[in-house]
């Protein structure tokens, strides 16, 4: 399983939870798994061209990632944050 952290902007989808577990061999699959449990979540983070949205930040095991085909292994960690933006 993959440990996933989602930011406050997404906890309306997860029933308030920010620490989640999800399955998948790629970031895309992990997001699909989350979306199946929390419908609508993925599209708020990734656009229809499979790009991480401009004001979202994703880290895989501490490394910034923008490619949702990035591979993951059991025990990896995905951190999703809202970028510093807006006002």
């Amino acid at each position: 399983m993959i440990a996933v952290f989602v930011p406050s902007q997404l906890t309306s989808y997860t029933g308030g939870a920010s620490r989640l577990q999800a399955a998948g061999a790629t970031l895309d699959q992990v997001l699909d798994h989350l979306d199946a449990r929390y419908p609508g979540l993925k599209f708020r983070v990734v656009d229809e061209q499979d790009r991480v949205r401009r004001h979202m930040r994703v880290f895989l095991n501490g490394q910034a990632a923008r490619d949702i085909t990035a591979r993951l292994a059991d025990g990896d960690e995905v951190l999703i944050f809202g970028a510093l933006s807006g006002g």
């Binding site: 930011p7 902007q9 997404l10 609508g40 656009d47 229809e48 061209q49 790009r51 949205r53 809202g82």
Partner: protein, 374 residues
Amino acid sequence: MPNAVRLFIGSRKGAWTLVSDAGRQAWRLEGPQFLGHIVNHIVPDPRDGRTVLMAAKTGHLGPTIFRSRDGGASWTEAKRPPAFPKAREGEPARAVDHSFWLEPGHATEPGVWWAGTSPPGLFVSTDDGDSWESVAGFNDHAMYWKWAPEDGGTPDGALLNQVVIDPRDPAHMYLATSTAGVFESTDRGGDWRPLNQNVEANFLPDPYPEYGQDAHCIALAPSNPDRLWQQNHCGVYRLDRPGERWERIGAAMPAEIGDIGFTIVPHPRDAQTAWVLPMDGTDVWPRTSPGGRPAVYRTRDGGGGWERQDGGLPSDQAWLTVKRQAFCADQADPLGLYFGATNGEVWASADEGGTWRELCRRLPEIYSVTAQPL
């Protein structure tokens, strides 16, 4: 006759409603809903009186549509919000930044809704806004990248900012864009052609091009759907179909006021009457109330002349900006008019613009105001 009205207010920081009594004298502000969300448009369905759709996003999260089946009391998210198809080889990859305009379908097509987006895109739903499909007739038109160039300008992103449906024929539609002006379809969106003759685009080398205009707001006269009104980036226009050539009726506005603005509202029962809300379009284009003195201007002869209506509005130092979707009418008699400003004020007139009163202030930047008879 009871004339109670609910106003749906979309703002940069959430949604509010204002609900009136039967006389439109007492108003109650309710909300916020979706605090912090960027709410571009909230539209009640006149066909069933209970469905309401909301176009929203946040500063971080992508765009979506929220749906209510109980007049806005509770909301659920669309299963499949508007989204472009995967990009074809060699073409830019488009992604919806935000849905800007929501339009209920024709009266004979319950459940059908249309949406306009930024970047310019047309989408349709046949299930009350739960799932949306890209309309290939516009989004994949051979001319799309001419009509919606990637560097299309418009400060908050290029827009397909309006969809209008002929009440006599669901296949006859118009749309407005910020990058190419007005378009017409006679086959329910299967194909589109520009409809911009004699409409100025003074920011292009050819000031009267076939397309390229910025159509801020268009409206059919409900009592004569052959009449189209337009508040364009460059002025106020009228087109009587089957004619093709717009007439610049804003030329009759007082010179010191001009005919620049974002909105135009037709009278639902009198095709000769419409209102505009002028903005200062001089030198660097402040786009605030000319002279700091807000007013609406009404024509009652199809644009031949205009009269100033500012009773109750501030007479000095009021630099309001009212955007495309933030001026509307109810259906009551006498007609009620409403506008919301970017400074968070909402103003109302219960006598067809004669006198105005402030309903609330200090809301976030207002993007849209829509009225629902109760």
